[in-house]
């Protein structure tokens, strides 16, 4: 998942270093196909069925500048009374530039008490993250955050 602007050179160095790794299969990273904004839109449509997605109610907490794209903490919370007649049914998180637009779907119900989930995600590059909540009344709400993924200084291509 790690994307580097200097893939060729680093791959060569990675291979050179890899010979000494004891008992491990040398794995090098190559640039995978990126999810495109069209794929992102299509992934969102497959959840919403084309219904209108309003901005608001959803809060997406993710560091704007991450220390390492391999493990990025993320919390999505939705302003909701979480009552049987008015609650969040599911939360869906998408990205713009990973090889695949989906990150995770989280299904919850009124017994949750609080509409909030946290996880850790991989971000292959600086990109847009979108969180969409489906409410019990069938409406969709969203939040979007731009995340900058910096290049870590001391990386290993071969593990």
């Amino acid at each position: 998942m790690q994307l580097r602007p200097d893939t060729t050179r680093r791959r060569f160095l990675g291979l050179a270093g890899g010979a000494a790794v004891a008992g491990a299969v040398p794995v090098v990273t190559v640039r995978p196909a990126e999810a495109t904004p069209a794929m992102l839109a299509s992934a969102i449509r497959s959840v919403t069925g084309g219904a209108e997605v309003k901005t608001g109610k959803v809060k997406l907490d993710i560091p704007p500048l991450v220390e390492n794209g391999n493990t990025v903490p993320m919390t999505v919370s939705v302003a909701s009374p979480m009552a049987p007649e008015d609650h969040v049914a599911s939360i869906h998180v998408f990205n713009e530039k990973n090889p695949q637009p989906n990150i995770g779907n989280f299904h919850l119900g009124p017994q949750a008490g609080r509409a909030q989930v946290s996880t850790r995600v991989r971000l292959a590059d600086s990109q847009k993250i979108v969180a969409i909540a489906k409410l019990s009344d069938g409406s969709y709400w969203s939040a979007t955050v731009d995340v900058v993924v910096t290049l870590a200084a001391c990386t290993e291509d071969v593990i």
């Binding site: 602007p5 200097d6 050179r9 680093r10 160095l13 270093g17 000494a20 004891a22 008992g23 491990a24 560091p63 500048l65 220390e67 390492n68 391999n70 493990t71 903490p73 910096t150 290049l151 870590a152 200084a153 001391c154 990386t155 290993e156 593990i159």
Partner: protein
């Protein structure tokens, strides 16, 4: 090429300054350079993925192994007392070989001598797990490595290696970690290189890893040929770094970017 450029810039800056040791009062764990989100991962056991290896280590500690059909626990008993502070004194002098050994090597020699079991490969899940479980018992204990006078010549060798420029970038460890630790390299903070939390969970690795793995990666980073796992040079470097961090509290299993 961006990265090579950044290191080259650091090299120029380093050229102007001689390697000077960091005064005791200014010594800082890598933890203090991390952003709050990454600190939070280390602060709580159930958020720290390194604890998964500690759990595995607990299972292995109690499991009989080798021809002797003995478990670690059969000799060492309750780990919370028998191994408290032990990792904070490694690498330690090994009388049998007349050399320093690190914690991983000690575990493997214990396996060979007392369990009659095969050594676990460096960076294997099992060896990392056992090391993590042992090191965890020293969490909060001050590092005491290097107190044994027999270690003095090996610490000196490790220090020599720490200062020695090498690789295509012609950099020594000290050029970054003594002289430029308050600066940044690309997106990352340059730390002081105190190995207070090994084995640790590195976000970059998405796994637990040993200090030897980290040193090998750093050596590859300056475009030098990394020593093989278990090489005397790596153990001497580990020894010097741990003795340089004396007095700092152990954090294993730490989390680092």
């Amino acid at each position: 090429m961006r990265l090579a450029g950044a290191i080259a810039a650091a090299l120029l800056a380093a050229g102007a300054v001689g390697a000077t040791e960091i005064p005791q009062a200014e010594r800082r764990s890598g933890y203090s350079f991390m952003k709050p989100d990454t600190r939070a991962m280390q602060d709580e056991d159930t958020a720290n993925p390194g604890m998964l290896w500690v759990l595995d280590g607990e299972t292995l500690w109690k499991r009989k192994s080798g021809a002797a059909e003995k478990a670690c626990a059969d000799c060492h008993g309750d780990i919370s007392t028998s191994m408290k502070g032990i990792a904070a004194r490694y690498p330690a002098f090994d009388n049998a070989t007349g050399r320093p050994v690190d914690l991983e090597q000690r575990i493997n020699s214990c396996r060979a001598n007392h369990q009659q079991a095969t050594p676990l490969p460096f960076e294997s899940r099992e060896l990392l797990a056992l090391t993590a479980f042992v090191a965890r018992q020293s969490q909060g204990s001050p590092i005491e490595t290097g107190a044994d006078p027999q270690l003095a010549p090996f610490i000196a060798k490790g220090r020599e290696l720490y200062l020695q420029r090498q690789g295509q970038l012609n950099l020594g460890c000290a050029n970054c970690h003594d002289d430029n630790w308050d600066k940044r390299l690309a997106g990352s903070a340059i730390t002081q290189g105190h190995p207070t939390g090994y084995p640790l969970y590195r976000l970059e690795w998405q796994s637990l890893g040993s200090l030897q793995r980290r040193l090998r990666a750093c050596i590859t980073g300056i475009r030098a040929q990394a020593y093989d796992y278990g090489a005397p040079e790596l153990v001497e470097l580990e020894l010097y770094l741990m003795s340089r961090a004396r007095g700092m509290p152990m954090e294993a299993p730490a989390v680092r970017p």
